[in-house]
């Protein structure tokens, strides 16, 4: 088989990879934020992403039209945030002092429960959400077709990244959260209610999972099991980027998304392995991840 790759094809494939990386970044930055501040490896993060997608579908179909889609993008993350707030105040807040294995098992159990609740609420049928007409179809990028919706993702990703940066480095909450990530006892000692800082950080991280789920829904079919795929990818991304480091999540997502899309172009029959190969190489060379881990 001859390798027939044009520059235009390559360029458009990089763009596709970048847009996929945006979704991965939004989800994994939330996971990383929770890991950093709360030290909780939240396996249920993927379930919240799935719930975000299902809620987005319900809202968009109930309201209908273009406004339904935009409303879904707002309401889905907020619903997920509400669910996570309840989970944090009733369950998680009692568990922060426990060891990691215990937390891992707890969030794993929560993931299974949320998965079944999703099935009970929405059923096992596949669902599909349609993007508004102006985000459907494709545009020509150097003569190669490029999906419009992916262009939209390319615009949303940086907005979320900048928003996160402003929040964590320019606001009081962000500064406290970052401080709590480094030394939670000290933060408590100066009279800050760490419990509520944790709750807010948890809700923010989960909100990102919900946003990711809502944003991804027009490009995939919304099904049970979409939580499994994303949580594995998100954990790998967070690990190669550096645990708890949001910019690490960005770097990891870019690596993951682009190795996948370029791998598909170069050796399509082995497309699955490329992102994982990248993970293996990075972890072999730098076991702590590319950027500084807060752990």
């Amino acid at each position: 088989m001859e390798l027939n790759i044009t520059f235009a094809g390559f360029f458009s494939q990089v763009l596709v990879g970048l847009s996929r990386a945006m979704i991965l970044f939004i989800v994994s930055s939330g996971l990383s934020f929770i890991l950093g501040v709360l030290r909780v490896p939240n396996v249920a993060h993927g379930s919240l992403y799935m719930i975000g997608a299902f809620v987005a579908h319900s809202v968009a179909t109930a309201v209908g039209g273009v406004s339904g889609f935009w409303l879904a993008l707002v309401l889905a993350p907020l619903t997920v945030a509400l669910i996570s707030l309840i989970a944090e105040r009733t369950l998680f807040c009692h568990l922060y002092e426990r060891e990691h294995l215990m937390l891992l098992l707890f969030t794993f159990a929560l993931a299974l429960i949320l998965g079944d609740l999703t099935k009970m609420t929405w059923g096992a049928d596949y669902r599909s959400l349609t993007a508004p007409p102006f985000l459907q179809g494709s545009v020509s990028v150097h003569g190669t077709a490029f999906p419009r919706y992916n262009l939209f993702l390319l615009a949303v990703g940086p907005v979320v990244a900048v928003g996160l940066w402003l929040l964590t480095s320019k606001t009081m909450f962000g500064k406290i959260a970052r401080a709590a990530a480094v030394d939670r006892e000290m933060v408590g000692a100066i009279g800050i209610n760490v419990s509520w800082v944790f709750a807010l950080a948890f809700v923010l991280g989960c909100l990102l999972a919900g946003l990711g789920g809502a944003l991804v829904s027009p490009t995939v079919s919304i099904t049970l099991g979409m939580d499994h795929t994303i949580i594995i990818e998100a954990f790998l991304i967070v690990t190669i980027g550096g645990l708890g480091n949001i910019w690490g999540a960005l770097v990891g997502s870019l690596i993951f998304g682009i190795t996948q899309s370029i791998g598909v172009l170069i050796l399509p029959q082995f497309a699955i392995v490329f992102p994982y190969l990248a993970v293996v190489v990075i972890l072999t060379l730098k076991p702590t991840g590319l950027l500084k881990s807060v752990w």
């Binding site: 088989m1 027939n4 790759i5 044009t6 235009a8 094809g9 458009s12 494939q13 596709v16 990879g17 996929r20 979704i23 998965g115 079944d116 099935k119 096992a124 049928d125 596949y126 669902r127 599909s128 349609t130 459907q136 179809g137 494709s138 190669t144 077709a145 490029f146 999906p147 919706y149 992916n150 991804v216 027009p218 490009t219 995939v220 079919s221 099904t223 049970l224 099991g225 979409m226 499994h228 795929t229 994303i230 996948q260 899309s261 598909v264 172009l265 399509p268 029959q269 082995f270 497309a271 699955i272």
Partner: protein, 410 residues
């Protein structure tokens, strides 16, 4: 005296009744229920197919039990394999060894079905009827006395596709699909037949993604850039809607012709609604709206009344499976696994699409195949299959000689 007489008469009568009861006891004991163990996927993305099959089976069993089979009923118990081979295997073993089921049925996962066939059915000598998994190896290369299939298989799908595609002016093909048993089996089946019918056809590339890969856009944009004449998607329920969706998003619809087995299934098309891509060629053995026969209408009406939605092909397969179980045991005259197997060979049962035979040489149900093309229908509120080409079972199935050849130890 009189009272004593009455007493002794009563005693004799009682003794007689006990004796009679003892005499008839074996017959009464024999009229037990037939236990069916179902291993299928009831969680995760494939649950939609598992539930559909279960509903079809329940509907049939409820009808059958009104009359009963050999004086008893068909009872069943289900296990969720979670689309995992190891779990499926453990559950099948548990059903056989602990629950003492008479027949095993399931599953949607071809890998799991192959594993149960080999490690449980063959080893424990228990009949196993595969009702959704489509790998041709189940009743082909890896077939044996204890395994049956009431699903259409990749060989049948492959041949149907090859016949249809060979009539079009396509030369450069791209094969893309799920990297597991079903995906590879269907890709091989299409290509084996197509390259025979049309020797100048060539594969210009192949793409394999992991089953259930959520975002197929990077894969499709890469394939599109290679400009094949036609794409053969070797993908099943898990990735099917994703492929169709990505076709729409990447603007591939109506630009590059594609064929996907079961793309015309309504469980695939329904979620996409009016956004399903048109012009996608698909093959399948059952549609609830075609053929428009009285038997099919009744089945669809009953199913819809019971479950609120029309039956998909798994429901049809499972309904047919229940008929084979009931008729098989009736013909065997006793609940005996070996006699049941003998009875199934060549058995004909009534199904919503007419009489279906269980072929004796390979234990494969003989279904006709329908090749259709997706078309948006306002009446249905989404895409349905249209422009049907019907291929008879005998046309698309491998011959008994080919099966014998495939089963020869190499």
């Amino acid at each position: 005296m009189k009272t004593k007489n009455v007493f002794s008469v009563g005693l004799v009568l009682a003794a007689g009744m006990v004796a009679a009861a003892t005499l008839f006891f074996p017959a009464v004991a024999d009229a037990r229920d037939i236990k069916v163990g179902i291993v299928d996927t009831y969680s995760g993305p494939a649950a939609v197919f598992g539930n559909d099959a279960l509903n079809g089976f329940k509907l049939a069993v409820d009808e059958i039990n009104k009359q009963g089979v050999l004086g008893g009923k068909i009872v069943f118990t289900t296990r969720d394999e979670q689309f995992k081979v190891d779990i499926a295997l453990n559950m099948a073993k548990e059903l056989v060894l602990k629950e003492n089921v008479d027949v095993l049925v399931g599953t949607i996962n071809s890998g799991a079905s192959m594993a149960i066939s080999e490690a449980v059915a063959k080893k424990e000598k228990i009949p196993f009827i595969v009702w959704t998994a489509k790998s041709e190896n189940i009743t082909g290369k890896a077939g044996h006395r204890y395994v049956f299939s009431t699903a259409e298989n990749t060989a049948m799908a492959g041949k149907s596709a090859a016949v249809a595609l060979s009539k079009k002016p396509f030369k450069k093909f791209w094969i893309a699909g799920d990297d597991y048993e079903y995906g590879h089996a269907i890709a091989d089946a299409v290509w084996r037949n197509l390259s025979k019918i049309k020797p100048d056809a060539e594969i210009i590339g192949k793409t394999w993604w992991k089953p259930g890969e959520p975002d197929l856009i990077p894969y499709l944009t890469a394939i599109q850039a290679a400009k094949p004449d036609c794409i053969i998607f070797a993908t099943g329920g898990l990735s099917m809607t994703n492929v169709l969706k990505a076709m729409k998003t990447t603007g591939m619809e109506n630009k590059i012709p594609v064929w996907i087995h079961t793309a015309t299934d309504h469980s695939v098309l329904k979620p996409l609604g009016m956004d399903a891509p048109e012009g996608v060629m698909g093959t399948i053995q059952y549609h609830y709206y075609y053929p428009d026969s009285a038997a099919n209408q009744k089945f669809v009406k009953d199913f819809q009344a019971a479950y609120g939605n029309p039956p998909g092909f798994p429901a049809f397969n499972a309904y047919t499976t229940a008929q084979f179980i009931a008729e098989g045991f009736r013909k065997a005259g006793t609940i005996d696994k070996e006699k049941f197997i003998d009875a199934l060979n060549g058995l004909m049962v009534d199904t919503p699409v007419g009489k279906v035979e269980m072929r004796a040489c390979d234990h494969q149900a003989v279904y006709p195949m329908f090749l259709g093309t997706t078309k948006i229908s306002k009446e249905f509120g989404g895409a349905i299959a249209s422009d049907f080409i019907t291929l008879r079972g005998a046309e698309v199935m491998p011959s008994c000689e080919e099966i014998a050849e495939a089963r020869k130890p190499k």
